[in-house]
């Protein structure tokens, strides 16, 4: 089959690889009908996530048709159209039973590695390094889906592929980020990063009742989308000398009630702390560049919440923990428990209350994946979201 394979930093290739096969009784094989490149795939593309190996199949946002089921599956049949959550969850461990599926105890075959790094291992993920299990990903014609009686969600015929695809990751991620804000009537939510997750977080914050949403980015096309589709006010941080001060002034001196870091470990900025982060990054002394996190903690009102859907991988330096403590902030973060959000969000899409398709800017064949990665990384061609078709 054809798949997008990682071969090193900024080296993604479209190649022929062996078809996946059923390994365990609860497996299914999905023929992919639509797959997307995630912002977090860019961390792999840039070489910031350890334990990638040449030839690893990328991709964790995908949907498709069931073409084969393991002997232990009764809930799915060949021909079902499903969307698949990016974390792999067993459904039986104490975490899964509590709905914390991205913390599944049993799905990472390389849990030992993750334990060495983080103390404990979360769930295995599709196409996201050997640290997260080494499972081949969804930017491919076929994918083996373990625990297919727990993850895949059957898509109603009335919904298009594009309407359902983002249930695999970014829509639940955005929703959880907004839910983590604990939004109450009258609240202002500030969102750093108007990429796919940031834009959808803004839209979800609206659905959850935020009075005002303020989006912060530097790309005009993305800021326009925030204004037009998430009814957000925007701040172009390159035109704004002090984002923290600007947010304070726009909120009557109070500060946003919740601040969302939808950027994560590779933040760009022109400020001194960002220069310092880049220098350290190059000197191999730090893994993450937490400029946005610093700003979010500094800007947030007293007693407010900082919600972090952006991915961090290692150690962070010069994080204003004193500010977080002094203001009694609540910090909420983590990989998304996709399973528990899929069906409620599917209902919102069906009811017409949420349309995640507005972020799609490029619809390309899978074979053009390497070029898509390059454009997406550079945010060139006003790209926001690439959806790839393996059949095209």
């Amino acid at each position: 089959m054809r798949a997008l394979c990682w071969h090193g930093p900024r080296d993604v290739r479209s190649e022929q690889v062996p078809d996946p096969r059923i390994v365990n009784p609860r497996d299914a094989i999905v023929q992919v009908t639509a797959t997307a490149i995630c912002g977090s795939d860019l961390h792999l593309y840039g070489g910031y996530i350890p334990t990638m190996q040449a030839g690893d199949v990328l991709g964790h946002e995908f949907m498709g048709e069931i073409v084969e089921v393991g002997s232990g599956l009764t809930n799915l049949k060949v021909g079902d159209r499903v969307v698949v959550p990016f974390p792999i969850a067993c459904g039986a461990c104490v975490y899964c039973r509590e709905g914390l599926t991205s913390l599944c105890d049993n799905s990472n075959p390389n849990a030992e590695m993750a334990e060495a790094l983080y103390g404990f291992s979360g769930a295995g993920l599709f196409g996201y390094s050997h640290l997260y299990g080494g499972y081949p990903g969804g930017q491919a014609e076929y994918v083996r889906v373990p625990f297919a009686d727990v993850g895949p969600c059957v898509v109603p015929a009335a919904l298009s592929n594009e309407q359902a695809l983002f249930l695999s990751d970014i829509l639940p991620t955005a929703y959880m980020a907004a839910e983590n804000c604990g939004i109450r009537p009258g609240d202002t939510v500030a969102v750093w990063g108007a990429g796919p997750v940031g834009l959808l977080t803004m839209a979800c914050a609206r659905v959850l009742g935020a009075e005002r949403v303020i989006g912060i980015d530097r790309w005009p096309a993305r800021l326009r989308l925030a204004e037009s589709h998430a009814k957000a006010e925007t701040i172009d941080y390159e035109q704004t000398p002090d984002v923290v001060e600007e947010l304070k002034q726009r909120t009557g001196g109070r500060g946003p009630d919740a601040c969302v870091d939808a950027v994560g470990m590779e933040a760009h900025a022109a400020s001194l702390d960002a220069v310092y982060d880049r220098a350290k990054h190059m000197l191999m002394l730090a893994s993450d560049r937490p400029h946005v996190l610093r700003e979010a903690m500094q800007a947030c009102r007293k007693g407010g919440t900082v919600s972090i859907p952006g991915v961090y991988g290692g150690l962070l330096d010069k994080v204003p923990f004193g500010a977080a403590f002094a203001k009694g902030l609540t910090l909420r973060m983590g990989q998304t428990h996709v399973h528990r959000y899929m069906r409620p969000l599917l209902a919102l899409i069906e009811a017409g209350r949420l349309d995640p398709t507005f972020i799609i800017t490029h619809r390309w064949p899978l074979t053009r994946g390497p070029e898509a990665y390059r454009l997406f990384r550079d945010k060139a061609d006003d790209s926001v979201k690439f959806v790839l078709d393996p059949a095209a």
Binding site: P50, E112, G314, L315
Partner: protein
Amino acid sequence: MAHRERADATLRNLLAPLESVSPLKRLVTRRATRPDPLAHPFALGLTALVLAAGAAAWVASQRRAHDGYGRTRGLRVDRTMTVARPAMELYRVWRDLSRLPEFMSHLESVVPLSETRSRWAAHGPGGITIEWEAEIITDQPGHLIAWRSVSGDVDNAGSVRFTEAPGQRGTEIAVQLRYAPPAGQVGATLATVFGQGADRQVREDLRRFKQMMETGEIADAGLLTANGRRY
């Protein structure tokens, strides 16, 4: 230009304290010489550093019994794991010794010879098979199984204890293993083989046992190989 110089000076000052983190540097250096599944050219920057810290912690966590002169006298491993199943169910699978190779990857087979006696075969260094005979010395259904070798290549003993975890979290399993390899070259080789990986081996065995008991499967990335390449 003055502004630029000031910024550079500030940056230098900010970076200065980092030059004194020699323990971290040592870890990185040490890591680089250690073949490890985590090693990879793209383990960049701090990532390498964090991995190094993790690897060092792992090495430190391996417990060895010494004879007081720095020589390895034998090896003791203690490990616990919580499994979200009732104690009696876990006990039954463990007590059926022939099922142990399903989750203990170093075992080739365990053949029960009588109610308490069994014959064990394990993968040894260089593809050889290590064999011993063991007897169960304590058997408290749902609570405790203890055994010891009575003859064979490796003198060893072990126990597994099952205790109810609080708040319906299942059962805490506590495994204790001791290996006392014989003297001589073979013994030294065995000590190396068991010693290097014993702690990790037991952790991975317990994890597989947990996966098997909680999900009915053992997690597997299902990686494929073709023409010597791995996918």
